[in-house]
């Protein structure tokens, strides 16, 4: 579990951590039930403050991706919250699609790009 953070990015660090972990779960690198590093450990490893990692973990917990079981550990949740994602990302997706279109990408080309992004999260076949 190695997170790559960009301190110069406009995306807040806690959001980058959150994103990296979501990607890790989706790719299978982080299996359901697997323990995540402690807040302190991850903070030290990334060179950020505990509070920053704490915020990321809190967000992930709220979204149902991870759980903390009170006995000293944070772990990947069994079945992530299967909320209504259709609406959730319609906005962001529409904008990305619009820009792709204006950049000259065909619908098929864009779909291929999206499929690649989807499959990119697959590490075991």
């Amino acid at each position: 579990m190695l997170l790559c953070l960009d301190m110069a990015s406009k995306t807040p660090i806690y959001m980058q951590i959150r994103n990296e972990i979501v990607l890790g779960i989706a790719s299978g690198e982080l299996a359901p039930g697997e323990k995540l590093p402690t807040i302190r450990a991850l903070a030290e490893q990334c060179g950020v403050n505990m509070m920053t990692v704490n915020k990321a973990y809190g967000l992930l917990r709220q979204e149902g991706y991870i759980t903390t079981d009170r006995r000293g550990g944070t772990a990947v949740a069994g079945s992530p919250g299967a909320g209504a994602l259709g609406d959730k990302y319609a906005g962001a997706l529409r904008i990305i699609a619009a820009e792709a279109r204006l950049a000259g990408l065909s619908e098929d080309g864009f779909a291929a790009l999206c499929r690649e992004a989807y499959r990119g999260g697959d590490s075991n076949g």
Copy 2:
């Protein structure tokens, strides 16, 4: 040209304006060469500060979506900047794809969603 802004959104207003205009261009609602409202007019219409609209226009100009021809008018650029979008949004797309995957969406389902988003920006067939 009616922009719908959400003052309670986490996305900065200037970015929302920018996004709405990009969507308008992609959908064909804003044709190449067509004149955009003046900063003052748009600011008044949206109930926001002129500086906010100015920032959005500046960003769009920098991205090559619009041009300002010195004699007072801002217009949609003829050929939008066909920059390397593959890299620009690869990150965002990967995260959206990962979340869709964790929410139980299949690759085909996600591709369909993406195609819909692409086609969604089409107002004249």
Copy 3:
């Protein structure tokens, strides 16, 4: 006597154990004078530390719900502590009522909910 604990809950485990036992007494499942499992047994059954169960028992003893008679057994107290509950939970009740109200529940609806909660602890009519 089967306690259902949620390790991922924000409520401390010892408090969950305490709550479950209070509910058991109120429902009649645990009759006055009835013996409770030993700390060791309950800890093993629940998969938690003995100290955790000990803390719960200590709290219940302090509140007058159970008694320990020195010869080894812990049992449900005859007449539970009829303390001033009006004050004890006035705060929590007010907040729950406020949230119910803001969620659109009428006074009668809320009262019905409360009656149900009261009666819910009734297992023998």
Copy 4:
């Protein structure tokens, strides 16, 4: 808008602030659309850190009770999230009801107490 906080309470300060504001909204003291004090102002008034107030506001925002409209203000939301409250508080209510029962309170007495708590949030009749 005067918040009374108990620094010695087991309830976290940010949660106390959150609760007080929920009560304020329910009582009508805080009308929909009304502006809340700034984080800084409330922090100073309460003698706590900005971050603590920030956390409370963040929680309230997430729950749909308040909104921040990007132009420099936090205000009471128009229509609070009418989520499924039936389940949300079943747990807490059951425990309170059980304790009330064990303390000798009748069902009618408990219902009266609940109605009072509900009506307690009414400041204008």
